[in-house]
Symmetry: D2
Subunit: 392 residues, 4 copies
């Protein structure tokens, strides 16, 4: 039995670090937060530049007194308030996630951290250790995994619909870095700066999404990786393209390709899973559809909605009827619903049913960072196999 | 020049009539309201049954004192409050829209009314007349028209991309009423009850969306209609299917087909416009894509995002980058942003730039009802042409 | 049980009337003939203009002595030859089909006649009567019905996969007549000349294909039609667009839309069939795929090949493995295989198994012409219902 | 200027070695041969088993005296006949191509050889050397490259539409070997037997198609390959799956994935080419469509036909109007037309315009075999880079 989400008794209070003017991802978090109707955004250190922080707070209609320009101060003040935030969403550039997470954990505030969790494994290990010592909640926002039909894919795999895994492929294909150098430089910003992005530029930015989705859906480690990086857009200090081969825990092979330089592709996160019992295919640009072919059968297009092939784990996420497109904000909403359920439970001391939520943990966050490092190590060794699974 | 939407200075206060437990459409309004971050939902008469009203108010985390079970009382109390609602969203079954709109207009509260605006032309005329005498805002939620790529279609037509209109076709194809009678009876509820649905069951429910989208995008009256109704699902008191032929103001012909009994179709609202300069095709189930073929050229797929064929009128609506699917909640969000901009302007006495918003008016609402009647008249006359455009 | 086609013992000998230089359809017949490997093209009166006839015969590598410029002479000479043709393929403009068919029937030669069979019902009745008095074979080339997946659709309908028919829709949408008048005039030729095209221009040219496909697949008469014609391309003497409503023999309703003036559509013959047990959709531009949705189930894409949902009646037509696209020449090949099987059986006095071939008859040809007339009659009566089914 | 193909003056005479009962590929050759109307199939050693050879000859309606059970005898007898064959099509299992080609070259007969040209590089080198010493024509049937829209892709690349190549990807994905072992064993036959298939099972069977298509369209060597083989279907002696990374002559990187064990994929040969000026995507299962995205522009779907974005090199291949699907038999037809043009020219001593035909040569055949070996070498070295381009 798959339980329904418990209804909200109140809206939790959320603060943001990063995500203000000029940042994309803050708006995406906020969209999911708002759609979920389980949170109020009440505080923020939306930028490290005071003027941008203030202007962004105004954009978001935050109270002035809860618009901060220093996340440490925010942690301190919010922890002290009677009506202080229940959780913080960390959306800064990758290199600053760890310090922010540390500050809020120390203040006893639950953590919602964007991916990749940190820019270095040192930082990742530190967060895992800190979390181990606390009783706080720590979730990482691999949000594409919260499209209802990705949950459907995971449930179908778990139910044996594809049989024994024989190979799996994932790609994440974009085009914003294709073409002239100038455009890329302007858009890529810190994504091509090793001091902020860590060791993997395209890998940290989008490859880590692909890595997470695959092991999350398959519920299987990705044990080893063989990688070669490339620059396929304008001249850049760091790679915009990676070709990878994977070994899963069960021994099955796979591939992962990510690029930001393939004209005609906007957000092509596409997953293909093949077993001895069938195949599953999913494309993020058409998120409400999942294609399933039982071995030697006709291909079925399962469409998000009630019944007609839906698994209960995914049906539970359905809000709009079939054919009424749910998109990226809805994936964020699905995630922020489960976050609210989990954080409310922790704070109220309630025990959740075992399969009530399925949120990437601090360990999953560390795995993503470890994978970025493993890919970079492999690239530096011209594609030699490297262990790519972190287990603490 | 297409101006950007003015930033919000505050969140407007919104109340709901109808839309509580067991009703679909209230949740859709609420999704757009929340995503827009320009409104707080603070009051509601979410059902006419007191117990359902209270339970629904709790679901929505409304304050108890602002959870009403009588919309007239709500209008009166909210109008008297210092912090009373700025506008009301009316989402009851169609037959109750008029009374609610009347009550809130009398209380001086701006109106956001679901479609079809009323169940009868008498009611529609009454609302038009009431609105004429007031200075209130009155908008009707033909929400599919607020998908960014529908705005794109409208802008392309206006810019002459299809040339002179030669024919246009629209269909709205669903399947929830296909098959056994019992299922239909349970789902269709008031939609097949003439006392609540007015004279057009499928026409009022979905045909009116198709009618609105076509004249909205073409910016051209639909002057005459020839209709035949059918029951293609279970036995039903009212039609679930309508075949129509249309005459546009310019003389061009068209068709409209709507049905709720076509297995394999969930929400297939599909529009095809052909002129002597090109063709445009759009499908609601893939709302971020618009297909444009210039005469004798290759077909272009224009994808919601910045640049790459986007018209400024549609680009203004873009929040997520290309490839990051925006769905039905985003269309509702687009609508509730324009509603907030328009209502804030009215209340603050600001004059908006002429093309700042493009929201269906009370007159458009009346046109939708008039069309439902015209279709029913034509059906009763075995498909004879009937005038189908209301101009007051 | 569905029998396999009997293997060919020899290649039958085929002659052509019409189809030479400047004519499209002759090449399509010839493609199917050649692919089938059951025929040799040995004679032809490929044009009524002697120079074109000779040049066309040379193009086709016909023997000079069997290249005719007069079909009556061809009928006479070929009938007299020891090695004369077994059958004639008639591909002239529509208005000339009847005279040619008459001549070859009188010469005792089997008839393969392009559609529409004749330009007038008088001619159609004459051919039916002539055929009744003979023991000759007479087939009409509604070739789209010979895509393997159309046969699949027919077999699925017959097997009850869609249940009781509730509505059916077909459209045939092209764009060659869109835009400037000059282009149309050059391309449309006799298609817009009532003296050659009969009473229905677009109806005779492509509407008749749609009409045939629908009653063929459903195995149900189309009893009545309500039609309005339009000119949606350049100024033209005859319609390029028709909007129709249909009544099937069982009482179910349907629509038929055909146009040659919809920019972005090349050969969009699309069929949608809905019953109380499921729905079937097929699009000629993707002929190897058929979409089937059982009531309340997931949509299945059945792909031409062996197994995986294929019905034996369609599987029998499969030559290439799944995914190796079969196109329009293959539909012609399927047709010419069944023609060869039927004509060989007639000439050798063999009795075929009852479901060995399923070829449109002279009566089906007359039905197509009758439908064109009925549509024109209805148009002239502003869409009044007209009987549209001919039964002799 | 792109010249039209010269009209046929006669049909050339063709013999077959292999391709009889139980073999797929012979029928495909024959389909193209017949459709082209430039050849008569007059002789064959359709199997090495005399009974199968005779039965197959009867299936094909060959004269008994020209139905052989020994290709050497066939070469000898046909070379001696006044009306002997102009060319031979070799469709045996791969391991027998070389001996047959040798025998017919020695008899002075032009060679049309299926791919991969040979099972070993020794054999490939021998054929190259033999051909160098002769004045015979030698073509290799990489037929997918003869879809009109692949020619279109090649012409667009040559015209600079994608700019400088930055990355390219190709995959060939099938599913016939997925699932239970028994099924695979029955179907795979010699494809998994190293003594007949050479060193690459899936690579020789389908990977070599992908390799050819990519270098043919890009007109650029594939210099190095890094490969790992896998068995993803039933247990098998040889690989059914290969993951490859590629280096092009210009230094751009690429990938090639081929598998016969991915449920839901029938013949998914898909090519994606990205440069600094745009991207091209093509899928063999929808062969008439090519997707082209100019940098920062909307994606165009170019559809096979006249005008609307077609390049003259591809337009020359068009027989059916746009939207009238051309499939795999038409690709074979395109190839056999160019083969007839080239062979007729050689035999008549005519010099063809330089870009009249574009047929894979014996050297291209050798390159395909070399690539199979290079892939196997790399696999044996756990993915180490191996030189993969043969230049004699």
């Amino acid at each position: 039995m798959v339980p329904a989400y418990p209804p909200a008794q109140r809206r939790l209070k959320l603060g943001f670090v990063g995500g203000g003017r000029g940042a994309l991802v803050g708006h995406w978090h906020a969209a999911g937060v708002r759609l979920s109707n389980r949170w109020d955004i009440v505080a923020g250190a939306l930028s490290s530049r005071p003027d941008v922080a203030m202007a962004s707070g105004k954009d978001w209609l935050l109270a002035e007194e809860r618009t901060y320009d220093d996340f440490r101060k925010m942690a301190e003040v919010e922890a002290a308030r009677e009506d202080g935030i229940d959780a913080v969403a960390i959306c800064t550039p990758n290199g600053h996630h760890a310090a922010a997470a540390e500050a809020f954990m120390e203040a006893g505030i639950d953590i919602i951290c964007d991916k990749p969790m940190t820019a270095t494994m040192d930082d990742a290990r530190k967060l895992v250790a800190l979390h181990d010592k606390s009783d706080l909640f720590f979730g990482v926002t691999y949000t594409y995994a919260f499209h209802a039909m990705v949950r459907q894919a995971k449930a179908m795999v778990a139910a044996g619909k594809v049989g024994k895994l024989r190979q799996a492929h994932i790609e994440y294909v974009q085009d914003w870095a294709a073409g002239a150098q100038e455009k890329e430089t302007k858009q890529s910003g810190w994504r091509r700066d090793p001091s902020q992005a860590g060791r993997g530029s395209v890998t940290g930015d989008i490859g880590t999404h692909a890595f997470h989705m695959l092991h999350y859906v398959l519920d299987e480690p990705i044990s080893e990786v063989s990688t070669r990086f490339h620059v396929c857009g304008g001249a850049a200090a760091m790679e915009d393209t990676a070709f990878m081969q994977l070994k899963f825990g069960s021994g099955a092979p796979g591939t992962l390709w990510c690029t930001q330089a393939a004209p005609g592709n906007a957000c092509g996160l596409r997953m293909r899973i093949y077993g001895d019992g069938g195949g599953i295919e999913w494309d993020q640009e058409f998120p409400d559809l999942l294609h399933y072919t039982p071995l030697n059968g006709a291909t079925q297009t399962i469409s998000r909605g009630f019944g007609a092939g839906m698994m209960p784990e995914a049906e539970r996420m359905v809000r709009l009827p079939r054919g009424h497109n749910e998109g990226v904000p809805d994936a964020w909403c699905n995630l922020y619903i489960e976050l609210a359920v989990a954080i409310e439970a922790r704070r109220s001391g309630t025990t959740l049913a075992p399969n009530m939520v399925d949120i990437p943990t601090v360990m999953d966050g560390a795995r993503g960072v470890y994978f970025v490092d493993a890919a970079a190590d492999s690239h530096e060794a011209d594609g030699a196999w490297m262990p790519s699974w972190y287990d603490g």
